[in-house]
Symmetry: D2
Subunit: 116 residues, 4 copies
Amino acid sequence: MTTAPLSDLQDLRDRTRQFAQARDWEQFHTPKNLAMALSVEVAELAEHFQWLPTGAAAELDDAKRTAIRHELADVLLYLVQLADKLQVDLHAAAVDKMALNALKYPADPVRSDLRK
Amino acid sequence: MTTAPLSDLQDLRDRTRQFAQARDWEQFHTPKNLAMALSVEVAELAEHFQWLPTGAAAELDDAKRTAIRHELADVLLYLVQLADKLQVDLHAAAVDKMALNALKYPADPVRSDLRK
Amino acid sequence: MTTAPLSDLQDLRDRTRQFAQARDWEQFHTPKNLAMALSVEVAELAEHFQWLPTGAAAELDDAKRTAIRHELADVLLYLVQLADKLQVDLHAAAVDKMALNALKYPADPVRSDLRK
Amino acid sequence: MTTAPLSDLQDLRDRTRQFAQARDWEQFHTPKNLAMALSVEVAELAEHFQWLPTGAAAELDDAKRTAIRHELADVLLYLVQLADKLQVDLHAAAVDKMALNALKYPADPVRSDLRK
């Protein structure tokens, strides 16, 4: 008998659960606190871009690219933990939201001149 | 011949690429702008929790749970797009970051009383 | 006998105190909650700029300028309330912080080419 | 002839103008960039509260109180600079916004049980 492999988001969910349990951090991980920590991590990510023209590759050196990669990871890790506490399947939620967005912003096959 | 299934995150990367292309939105999607949009979505998520004690399930009604699920999705969708522009594999970055976090905050097998 | 006029910031502190008391909102106004609400208001402000090149006057129409003015106000109002709860004199704190910043980033009388 | 004294917000506006000019930073200070920098500073402030129950005085030691005071100052300083670029009088905007808020959330002279 084989079991279906975990998806990558489920894998991270399991890893973060284990990580928090091993450190007795679950007591701090209310949805409210995780939402706040997520905000802080996103700001640490945004900080790298605040004085740059666009953040395109040519504007970033290696040290900055590494730091940004770590911040992207931190954002995902808190997002996964928050979704876990709220029992939300992130992939399904994202697919559903894209369907709503497609209704709100229909694609124009010819030209999409106006925006948001 | 079979092909390996796309991971959840790669699937969302492909979906968001197609969505932006179909709407001619790529011109707006600089890393800087996506980081800023990500911050805004995270705040819309956090807003649901700002006056609640902890955000636990009992504090949320169905309408709020649905709204929160949509906001979680929006955060993930912008995160995936930003990582895509920066050519970062989010799952690999998250696994690497957890290894660094494990060095910074070693698990105490007996008790983890002090924190961050 | 004349009394010194209240400063702008003290005036807003007094107005926000009265406003919260009249609505029995003080129970919600912990420093943590006010910091979270402040984050949310700042994101509502930032949202107006996220897809614009620079946010210069020519990029903003009247409706957007009015909305931005209201968001700037909301940010200040939550900041004043948070500082009040923490018994911080915002003007004195800002002057002190500028003195620290001046040490960290000395002005170059000739040219200031490098940055932060 | 006497001139009216500057208000404390006008005083900070003048100080920040001079500070930026002396460092040739005005080129970076677009409204968009200042809004992004403001978001980052607010997150640095919020970070101090993310794992605390309420952020009340008893939960903060002296080092943390000093750090929080500096972050409050940074938030105000970016807010003042952003309002200056947008030619918004922060005090007038705040007073006007409070009048709108009073219409939206009328005070209940007896009891204000429901909320936002």
